[in-house]
Amino acid sequence: MSGSHTGPAAVIAAQVRHVEALLEQRGLVDAQELDRALEAFLARASPANGARIVARAWLDDEFAVRLLADANAALPELGLSMGGGLQEQRLRVVPNTADRHNVIVCTLCSCYPIALLGPSPTWYKSEAYRSRVVRDPRGVLREFGFELDPAVQVSVWDASAESRYMVLPQRPAGADGMTEESLAALVTRNGLIGVAPV
């Protein structure tokens, strides 16, 4: 069962506080140490990171090849990593093409590449999104106002284990000659999840 993932947030929060208090009582962590680590992590965690990765991939074909082959090895080229947590997490970047669209989800809880996309939106953690997007992705995207061409194949990536996913959207038409910064500004968080076009 995956019940431990779906308990009320308040219960989990209380348990976390309890464990934190025990760790501090026993001198295993400094009272401010966790806050500092979390603040430092969240200060760097932003969808702007994912957008920078995408813009670089749009401009540099060789970077795109490296990113799709081994994202963890490519991220340091932009000063980024998946190592903000207890251990480095494997990242898999899935590219949208003319005939394939990708969407990410974690049906068991809410796994998400926080370092690259920032904290996840509430709907991403909702049971409605988690249960419905695997069953009817086209219908769910439609509710986001995103009507997919019926000829485009859809892949839904359920992050049910130790990998995290990020979508590499297609470079929009008419973006020739744009700088990396202005390209990055076109990339939205929802585009990196796959529920919006870019």
Binding site: R90, T107, R135, V154, S155, V156, D158, A161, E162, S163
Partner: protein, 131 residues
């Protein structure tokens, strides 16, 4: 049994519905899919969550046709699954009408289930023992 699976291998997921924590989503149980890639090795959460010893084992990205999981739909769902949740699909698919046949024919007829039982004795459930 611990021989790593390769991309393209057809696999059948466990049908077990354990009372303990597992990371095999219910919608992906008893389904035939195709290994996309191996992600790395990690201890089985079913064991770790019960504080039982768990050696790292391969975790794979496995692709399923929506029609195999839900009976309809034209999309693909990939699920990240531990080796213990999987067995080779050859023996299990032999008696099936079609690889992506409607779940209604695979379930009640018992065809897939009984041929699955005839496979190698991979332990009763999802391979938690002797790992």
């Amino acid at each position: 049994m611990t021989e790593p699976l390769r991309p393209g291998d057809r696999v059948l997921t466990s049908r077990a519905d354990p009372a303990h924590h597992t990371r095999l989503p219910r919608y992906a149980r008893g389904a035939v899919g195709t290994v996309v890639e191996m992600q790395g090795r990690h201890p089985l959460p079913d064991l770790r969550s019960r504080r039982l010893p768990a050696e790292p084992e391969p975790v794979y990205t496995v692709a399923f046709a929506a029609s195999e999981l839900f009976g309809d739909g034209d999309h693909t769902v990939t699920v990240d699954l531990w080796h213990s949740y999987l067995r080779p699909a050859e023996d299990a698919t032999a008696g099936r009408p079609a690889p992506a046949g409607p779940p209604a024919t695979a379930g009640p007829s018992g065809v897939a289930g009984s041929s699955g039982m005839a496979g190698p004795p991979v332990t009763a459930g999802n391979g938690e023992e002797e790992r």
